[in-house]
């Protein structure tokens, strides 16, 4: 191997930024905070770019950097702190540090004037630290450290404006729901350890490769546990409920953590451990079903949301469902491809939405927007690029990745066509709700005439423009070439069809469906705006269910949260805490109190009584000195009772 690539700098640069800004940021001038906050991801990004040369030379891949001291070394268990760079982690790192850096720049403009400016940047750097650790991890335990860390950063940033109860509660909800998923992940890690005796991905992969007959059984269980963890982090059914609430955080945070990077960690996990899933077809089927169901379910909820960020949140859940669907049909490279393009256009959508919110002075309700096309043209055009990309129009990036997923789904076994159809319906819904957002925000008359929108500063617009370029051109590399590049990491996905021109036909169908979604949105929200309300009135039942998000939150509240709270209140609080623990404490306190009440009579304040006690005590001491003590207590007692003279 050639010279070191210094992978350790990738996580540690943001960590240094976190420490500097976290400790000193609020005491130092703003330009210092800004430059530290921006320099950290920039250093990471440069190191990542530099590490690309490992792929051009005759270098040994995957490239491994291991901390010289073992992290855990107990008996036969040996875990190193190792970082691994291969094709998969390179792609993820490029997205994380690249998009992350752009969002840092955007934040400079967006968070200007916020009293928590330094805190914000230190948290954002902390997130990059954990996220790059997660992606570079060479074994499941290091990955878990990053996994928990991004959860922490997510919690801190969702609740960034913790003065508002809604934000604080949303942070708690995200953290707790993620804990549920992490429980599954942790069990999965334990099972890996007991089945393989190691946690290093390369060793597990080698053991499985040496034993191709090993299918299902414990592997299915491991995979389902990992899937549960992935579902928590990536907001899949049934653990998606935290993501819409997470929109209480600042908009750049939603873009970075809850759209582009952190929520895709579940997809990354599945791709990283694909060698396990390849041996567990049942778990793969579960992933495919979960992904497809999440995709259509979330898209349906996104149809009627009126908060611009919530529409995007449901859209994110739905697109993550697509990625899971791709993983479920073993098209890992398609999933990662969609992950990358989605990172571009969804980050752009959120940042543009943030620009709209910024322009309107904090307004997030789509019903109060409108007519912004002329007022904020750069935001409008970049947003347009993202909308077309997510809807899947040729030649925008979303087209290529979505197409790859639908194609892979169509070709996967007996039920592939069902998955494909669900994906297609989801594409229709996606196109509809995105154009609905587009029309409501940018077209028609301004519905809040007293607001005067203004275009955002350059620090916000520059990332928008760069991301717009990426959203348009990010998919031109093509799914085949992308898959070929990733193949050493995630394996070949041979999707060969016997029907000629099938891929072309499927692509045309997908674009037509997207067009249909556009036309419906155009009709309902531009040409005849009254029709949307009529539809809602005609189907009050369905509209209400969608508006209330299928009552899933209410269901969880009734089935899980309320019973738990009741148990906490009646059993843990009243019986255990107030009854047993409290009773014991009261008992001790009571003993002390009554003992004190008796002993306090000594403290009479009467000087002569003190003196009398003193004299009496001196007399007793003297007596003790006079009595010849024996080692034998009984004999001493005998002497005391019979008098000192009895001895002689």
């Amino acid at each position: 191997m050639n010279a070191s690539l210094h992978l350790w700098l990738i996580p540690l640069a943001p960590f240094a930024g976190f420490v500097l800004n976290g400790l000193l940021g609020s005491r130092l001038p703003r330009w210092f905070t800004t430059s530290v906050g921006l320099l950290a991801p920039l250093v990471s990004f440069v190191v990542v770019i530099n590490s690309i040369r490992a792929f051009t030379g005759a270098a040994q891949l995957p490239y491994v950097e291991t901390c010289p001291h073992p992290w855990i070394s107990v008996g036969s268990l040996h875990i190193d702190f190792s970082l691994v760079l291969d094709q998969l982690s390179l792609v993820m790192l490029l997205v994380i540090t690249g998009v992350g850096f752009l969002i840092h720049i955007y934040s400079v403009g967006y968070m200007r004037g916020d009293p928590g400016y330094a805190r914000y940047f230190s948290f954002l750097n902390l997130f990059l630290f954990f996220m790059s650790t997660l992606v570079l991890a060479g074994n499941a335990l290091v990955l878990f450290v990053g996994w928990e860390g991004v959860g922490l950063a997510s919690y801190l940033l969702i609740g960034f404006w913790f003065q508002r109860d809604v934000a604080a509660n949303a942070g708690k909800k995200a953290f707790i729901v993620n804990r549920v998923g992490d429980f599954g992940f942790l069990i999965g890690i334990f099972l890996l350890l007991s089945n393989f005796g190691t946690l290093a991905f390369s060793e597990i992969s080698a053991k499985l490769a040496g034993n191709p007959a090993w299918q299902g059984g414990a592997l299915t269980l491991i995979c389902l546990c990992l899937l549960f963890g992935a579902a928590g982090k990536s907001a899949q059914l049934p653990l998606y409920v935290w993501l819409p609430d997470a929109m209480e955080g600042p908009t750049p945070v939603s873009a970075l953590i809850h759209a582009a990077t952190m929520v895709t960690a579940g997809v990354y996990l599945v791709a990283r451990t694909h060698f396990l899933f390849d041996h567990a077809p049942a778990a793969l089927a579960v992933i495919a079903v979960v992904g497809a169901a999440t995709a259509i379910f979330a898209a349906a909820m996104g149809l009627v949301q009126n908060d611009i960020k919530r529409v995007l949140a449901y859209s994110t859940i739905s697109q993550l469902g697509y990625m899971f669907l791709a993983c479920g049909v073993a098209a890992y490279s398609a999933a990662i491809f969609h992950l990358v393009t989605h990172a571009f256009f969804k980050a752009l959508l959120f940042l543009a939405a943030g620009s709209v919110i910024h322009a309107l002075g904090g307004e997030q309700d789509l019903r109060k927007m409108g007519g912004l096309r002329k007022k904020i043209p750069i935001t409008f055009w970049t947003m347009t690029a993202a909308v077309f990309a997510i809807a899947g129009f040729f030649p925008f990036s979303g087209f290529f990745s979505k197409d790859a997923i639908l194609y892979a789904a169509f070709l996967s076994g007996r039920n592939g066509q069902i998955l494909w159809f669900v994906g297609l319906v989801t594409a229709l819904l996606t196109s509809f709700y995105m154009f609905r957002l587009w029309y409501m925000a940018f077209f028609g008359e301004a519905r809040s005439p007293d607001v005067h929108p203004h275009e955002s500063p350059w620090s916000m617009l520059a990332p928008l423009v760069i991301l717009a370029v990426l959203s348009i051109g990010g998919g031109w590399v093509g799914a085949e070439r992308f898959g070929a590049f990733l193949a050493p990491s995630v394996g070949e996905h041979a999707a060969l069809s016997t029907i000629p021109h099938l891929e072309l036909i499927l692509s045309i169908v997908a674009v037509l469906v997207a067009l249909e979604g556009w036309l419906i949105a155009d009709k309902l929200y531009r040409r005849r705006p009254e029709r949307a309300a009529q539809w809602a009135a005609a189907l009050p039942w369905g509209y209400k269910i969608l508006l209330n998000k299928f009552y899933v939150d209410e269901f969880y509240s009734a089935v899980l949260v309320k019973p738990l709270l009741a148990v906490s209140k009646f059993f843990l609080d009243w019986v255990v805490d107030k009854g047993i623990l409290g009773g014991f404490a009261w008992l001790l306190a009571g003993i002390a109190t009554y003992a004190g009440m008796i002993l306090q009579r000594w403290q009479s304040g009467n000087l002569r009584s003190y003196a009398a006690w003193l004299a009496a005590a001196a007399a007793v001491l003297l007596l003790f000195l006079l009595i010849p003590w024996h080692a034998d207590w009984a004999a001493s007692l005998h002497i005391i009772l019979k008098g000192a003279g009895a001895e002689r």
Partner: protein
């Protein structure tokens, strides 16, 4: 031996005098109400102890006991100065010297 003790007065007489003086001091300390009398009782006890110190020093030809007496006298002098100052302060504040009425420490 050329000590005073060898010239007829026995050791026990000195010790008895010391014990009587000490007992008088204790009794005075316990039963008197006037703060100054209590104070003088303390001095009496100190001097009773001093007497036994010098007695034993003479008996055993050990100079340590005599040195100790000087220390006690020195401390007693300092104590008298501080104690009398406190007594004056107490009298000014409370217009009484009865120890039974100086009971602010009582619960």
């Amino acid at each position: 031996m050329s000590s005073a003790l060898s010239q007829g007065v026995p050791l026990s007489a000195y010790l008895l005098l010391s014990a009587v003086l000490f007992a008088l001091g204790v009794v005075g300390f316990l039963i008197k109400r006037n703060l100054i009398t209590v104070f003088l009782s303390i001095e009496l006890m100190l001097n009773a102890v001093n007497l036994s110190f010098v007695t034993f020093a003479c008996q055993w030809h050990a100079v340590k006991g005599q040195i100790f007496v000087f220390f006690v006298m020195m401390v007693a002098a300092a104590e008298a100065a501080v104690g009398l100052a406190i007594i004056i302060a107490v009298y000014r504040a409370r217009a009484t010297l009865s120890v039974d009425r100086i009971d602010l420490m009582k619960l």
